[in-house]
Symmetry: D2
Amino acid sequence: MERKLKIGIIGAGRIGKIHATNIVKLSNVELISIADINIDAARELATKVGAKKYFSDFSEVINDDEVDAVIICSPTNTHAQLIIESANAGKDIFCEKPIDFNIEIIKEALNIVEKNGVNLQIGFNRRFDHNFKKIKDLAQENKLGNPHIIKITSRDPKAPPVEYVKNSGGIFMDMTIHDFDMARYLAGSEVEEVFAIGKVLINSEIENLGDYDTAVITLKFKNNAVCIIDNSRETSYGYDQRVEYFGLKGCAIAQNDKPTNTILLNENGVIEDKPLYFFLERYMQSFKDEIKVFVDSILNNKKVPVSGEDGLKATLIAKAALLSAKEGRPVRMSEIF
Amino acid sequence: MERKLKIGIIGAGRIGKIHATNIVKLSNVELISIADINIDAARELATKVGAKKYFSDFSEVINDDEVDAVIICSPTNTHAQLIIESANAGKDIFCEKPIDFNIEIIKEALNIVEKNGVNLQIGFNRRFDHNFKKIKDLAQENKLGNPHIIKITSRDPKAPPVEYVKNSGGIFMDMTIHDFDMARYLAGSEVEEVFAIGKVLINSEIENLGDYDTAVITLKFKNNAVCIIDNSRETSYGYDQRVEYFGLKGCAIAQNDKPTNTILLNENGVIEDKPLYFFLERYMQSFKDEIKVFVDSILNNKKVPVSGEDGLKATLIAKAALLSAKEGRPVRMSEIF
Amino acid sequence: MERKLKIGIIGAGRIGKIHATNIVKLSNVELISIADINIDAARELATKVGAKKYFSDFSEVINDDEVDAVIICSPTNTHAQLIIESANAGKDIFCEKPIDFNIEIIKEALNIVEKNGVNLQIGFNRRFDHNFKKIKDLAQENKLGNPHIIKITSRDPKAPPVEYVKNSGGIFMDMTIHDFDMARYLAGSEVEEVFAIGKVLINSEIENLGDYDTAVITLKFKNNAVCIIDNSRETSYGYDQRVEYFGLKGCAIAQNDKPTNTILLNENGVIEDKPLYFFLERYMQSFKDEIKVFVDSILNNKKVPVSGEDGLKATLIAKAALLSAKEGRPVRMSEIF
Amino acid sequence: MERKLKIGIIGAGRIGKIHATNIVKLSNVELISIADINIDAARELATKVGAKKYFSDFSEVINDDEVDAVIICSPTNTHAQLIIESANAGKDIFCEKPIDFNIEIIKEALNIVEKNGVNLQIGFNRRFDHNFKKIKDLAQENKLGNPHIIKITSRDPKAPPVEYVKNSGGIFMDMTIHDFDMARYLAGSEVEEVFAIGKVLINSEIENLGDYDTAVITLKFKNNAVCIIDNSRETSYGYDQRVEYFGLKGCAIAQNDKPTNTILLNENGVIEDKPLYFFLERYMQSFKDEIKVFVDSILNNKKVPVSGEDGLKATLIAKAALLSAKEGRPVRMSEIF
C-alpha cells in the first residue's frame, strides 16, 4: 500500500487555510495537526479539513512523532526559528517565503537544515504556474536559445493597507521577491548586479514609511541575460502577471489568465475579460502543485524543487534592490551579505 | 447545523467516477452508496471516495431510506427505468443525458417524475461552462439584444470506435444533443424547424451504420433566431468548442480554452497552445458546478436548472435532425413526437 | 520599354473613382478616358486623376482605338450591354459584379465575350483580400486537407436605404453574392444544393419589398464540402468579415482587420478596436490588387483570375438561394437556369 | 485653387526613394527636383516619379527659387550643413534623423534655423504610426492617467552589416534613438537620468567596434514616469515593435502588426503570422503621414509636429546612454551637453 506523508501545519491564517484545503485532497497525505496561537482558528480549520489534532503551541506539531513534515505558514518573523526547531526534530519542511528579512538569521537556519539533512522547500509557488512553467519547459527544450532579455510585469490590483507595508519589509521584499525568484529560475543563472528605481506615485503615505508603490528593477545575470521587472501596487484592470523570455532562437510570452474566454463585441469595441483578480484566483493551481511536488519529492526521496538557497538568494537580491533604490546606483551582489 | 444531502450513485464508469470525486468535495453532501453491475467497480470507487455502501443491484441504492437523491450514470438504456424507480421511491434525481432514444419512454418517465413531485435534473453540463454561461449572462442583462444568429462549433478531437457508434444513437444523439440544448438555452425559445446535412468524410465504416462523422444543422426558432451548428468527429487541433450569439445590440463569442496562455514566437510564427484536449479537460469545472447547483437546489427547495423537459426537447430535435438528414429536407418539429 | 495598358473607365461613381485612383498609381497603365452619363462627374474625375479624355457617351470610350481595355463601373442594368459592345470592339474587360440579374442576358454576354476571344474579369475583389488569400494559399499548399466545413460570416455595419434595396436584387444578389463566390473559390468545387433562410429582424419596411435583412445559407458542394454563410445588414460593432476553412489536416480562420493593434486595459476590461468600418476601409487593398492582376494578366497574355463564368455561377447560386428562402426547401442547382 | 508646396529632395537612396514616391501621390505637392552625388541615381528617381529637374549638386536644389521646401535624405554627416544652407536660403526643411552625432553642430544648425524663421521637421516617423498614435491619443484624452511605467520593445529582425555599424554612431544612435523619441513623446516630459546596459550576445565582431547588439535602457523622467526600453539587433520572428503605457487609470498596449489576420490551427497549435518583417513594411504608412503632416503644416502656417529640439533631445539621450553603458552607472542628463 502507498505510504502517506503525515503533515502538520503551523499557522491557520489565509495561506495556512489554502494549504490545508489543498493537502486533504491529496491521496498520499494525512493531515495530522494544525497549530495557531489563536486556538480557535486552529480548531476551526482542523474541524473543517478533518485534522485530528490542533494546538496553540507550535512545538506540539513539530515534536509530534506522528508528524513527518511541517508546513510553516506563520508570520515571517517566526519562520527561521520554526525551521530550526523542525530541522532539529528531523522533520522535512515546507516554509512560506520569505525565510526572514535578516540574512544572518536565514543562513543560520539553512545551516541547521543542512546539518540535520532534512528537506526544506520555500513557497515560491509561481514556479509551478502553468504559463511560467511552459516558458521554463521551452527554455529547457532549447526552443528559445540562451536568455538575452527577460521581462517580468508584476502589478497588484490594489495597494495593501499602510499597516501591512509597515511590517512587510517593503515592496522589494513583499512583492518583487517573487519576481526575483522567477528571474533566477528562468535565467538559470545568478544575479551580478541590481539597479532599482522606486517611486511613490499612488499613495503618498507610503513615502513616510520609506517604501515605494511603483518600481522598475534591472538585473544583470552572470550568463549575460538582462532582466527587467516592473511593479505597481495598484492596477486599474486587476492583477497583471506577464513574463517574457527573449532568446536568439525564440521568444516565449506568458500572458494573463482570464475568468472566461468570451468576448463581447459592440459599439464600444471588442471587449475581453480583465485578468483574474488577484493571487488567490491567479495562482490557486500553483499552490496546489507546489505542495503536491513537495509531498512527492519527500515520499520518493527526490530533491525538493525550491531550496532554502533559493529563498536566501531572492532575499539578497531584495536587499540589493533596496540599497540601489536608496542610493540611486547599481549595486553589485558582492556588496550584499 | 447545515443539512447535508445524502446521495447514492448508480454507475461507476467514467462519468460516475467524475461525479463521485466531485461530490465528496462538497461540504453539503454525504455520499452514501455506489452501485454498479460490476461489483468490483462499485467497491473500488466506494473505497476511493469514502462511500460507506456499495452494491451490484441498483435498487439497493434507490430503495435505501438513508438516500435523498440518486445520480444516474449507468448506460442510456437503463436511464428511464431508473428514473421511474427512483421517482416512485420519492428520490430526487440527477440523470445523465440522454434520457432515452425513445420519445414515448421519455414521456412516461417524465410523467412519473411529475406525479411523484420529485426533482429531475438532466446532465447538460455545458450550460454551466464559464464561457457559455457568460454569453447567457450577457443576453439576460440585455447587452446583446434579441438573438438573430447563433453559431455553435462543436468538434471532437478523435472519432470514437465504431463499436461505440453502433449503440450511441448516432452523431445527432451522442454529440449534437449537447449543441441542441445549448441552442435552446441561448435562444430562450423553442425550435420550429430543423435542417440537417450529414456526411461521412472521415471514416467510411461509419457509413455502413447509417451514421455521419460531419454534420451541419440549421435550427429555426419560434422567436426568429436562426442557429447553425457544425460538428466533426475528428479535429487535427483537438477539441473545438465555440459559441457565438449575434444580436442587434452586441455579439458575444465564446472562444476555446487552452492549457496555458503562453505563446511562442519564432521563425515559424506566433504559436499558441491548442485547445484543451477533450471534454474531460474542457468541461471538468462544469461537471462540478452542475452537481453543486443540483445539490443546492434540492437543499433550498429551488427548481433544478435543467429539467426533464429540457432532456426531452433536445432528444426530439435530434430525432428531427436525423429525419432531415435522411430525407434531405427541412423537418418541422410538429412532425416529431 | 515596358508596354502600358491603355484603359478607359465607364462610370465615375463611387467604385469608378476607386478604380481610377488606383489605376493611375500603376506604372504599367495609362488611363485614357472616363465616361459617365453625368458629364460633370466624368470631367471632374478625369481632371483629378489626369485622364486626357472624358465623355458622357460610353461608346466613345469603347470605340476609341487608343483604348486597350475598359473597366465597367456603371449601374448593373448596363453591364451586359457594355460587355457585349466592348467585346465586339475587341477590348479586354473588367466588369463590376453582378453582370446582370437575368441569367439569359448573362449567358448571351459571355457568349459574345468568348466569340471575340477577349478577356473578361469580374470584380470579386475579396478573392484578393490578404486574409482570405492566405486561406486559399494554405489550401493549395495542402496544409488543410479537403474542405469539410467552410464558414463565412459577412455582416454589414448599417442597413442600406430602402431605395437601394428596391433595385439591388435583394440581399442574396447585393450582399451574399460575394460570399457565394468566396465559397466556390475556397471549396474549389461547384454547388449542388442551396438551403437559405431569410428573416426581417431589423427593418420591417424591407419586408414589403420581399427582401430580408438577416440570412443564413447552407451550400452543399460536389466535393462534399458544406458551406455555411450568415449575413446581417446591421452590426453594432461594424463590418464583420470572417472566413473559416475546416479540413482534416488543419483549419484556417481569417479574422477581422482593425484600425490599430493597440488595446486599452482598464476597469471595464481589455478593449480592442472594432473591425475596420466598411468595405472601403476593409477591402481597399483588394480593389488595388484585383486591377493590378487584371492589368498584369492582359499584358502578359495570362488568363484573368476571375472569369465571366465565375460571375454567372455566383448569380445562379443567388437565384437558388432566393427560391429556397421563398419556398422553404433546399433547391438543387439543376433547378436553376 | 489650392496652393501646392514645391519640394526638392536631397538624396536618392532608400529613404529618398520612399519620400519621393509618397510625395508625388499628395495632391498639394509638386516635386520639383532631386539631387544625389550619384547623378544617375538622381536622374533615375526623377524620371520614375516625374520630377522635372535633377542634379548632382545639392545646392542646386536648395538655391532654386522655385523650391519652397527641401527634404534631406542624404548621409547623416551632411545633414547639419544642408539644414544650415537651406535655412539661409529661406527654405522649410524636413530632415531625416539624426541631425548629427555632434551636439555643438546640431545646436548651431538649430540656431540658424531659428534665426531664419524657417520650419524644421525631424523624421521621427514612428510618432505617426497608427498603433503608437492611438496610445498618445488615449493619453491626451486622459483615459490612462499620468504615465507611471512606459515600456518599449524594439528589436530588429537581422543585425546590420558590421560596415554599417562602423558609421552608424552605435546602437543607441542608429536604433534606440527612435525609442528615445517615442519615450519623450509618450511621457510628455523630459528625461532626467539614463541607465543603459549594453551587451554583445549575437555577433562578437561588434565588440571590437565598441558597440552592442543587445541593450536595456531605463529612463527617469521629470514627471516621475519611468521608461524601460529593450533592444536587440536580431530577432528570430522578425521585427518586434511594441509599446506599453501604464497609468493609474488605464494601460494601453500597442501590439505588433502582421501581414494577415488569418490563423492556422493544426496539430502543432494555433499559429499566427509573424510581425511585418522590417521597418519598410511596418512603418510605410507613417512615412507617408509624416510628410503629409509636414506639407499641411507649412501650407497652413502651423507648427511642424516634430521639431529640431526633438531631434537634439533624442541625440542627447543617446549620448547619455552610451556614457552610462560604458561607465556602468546612471547618467544625469545635466552631465551631457
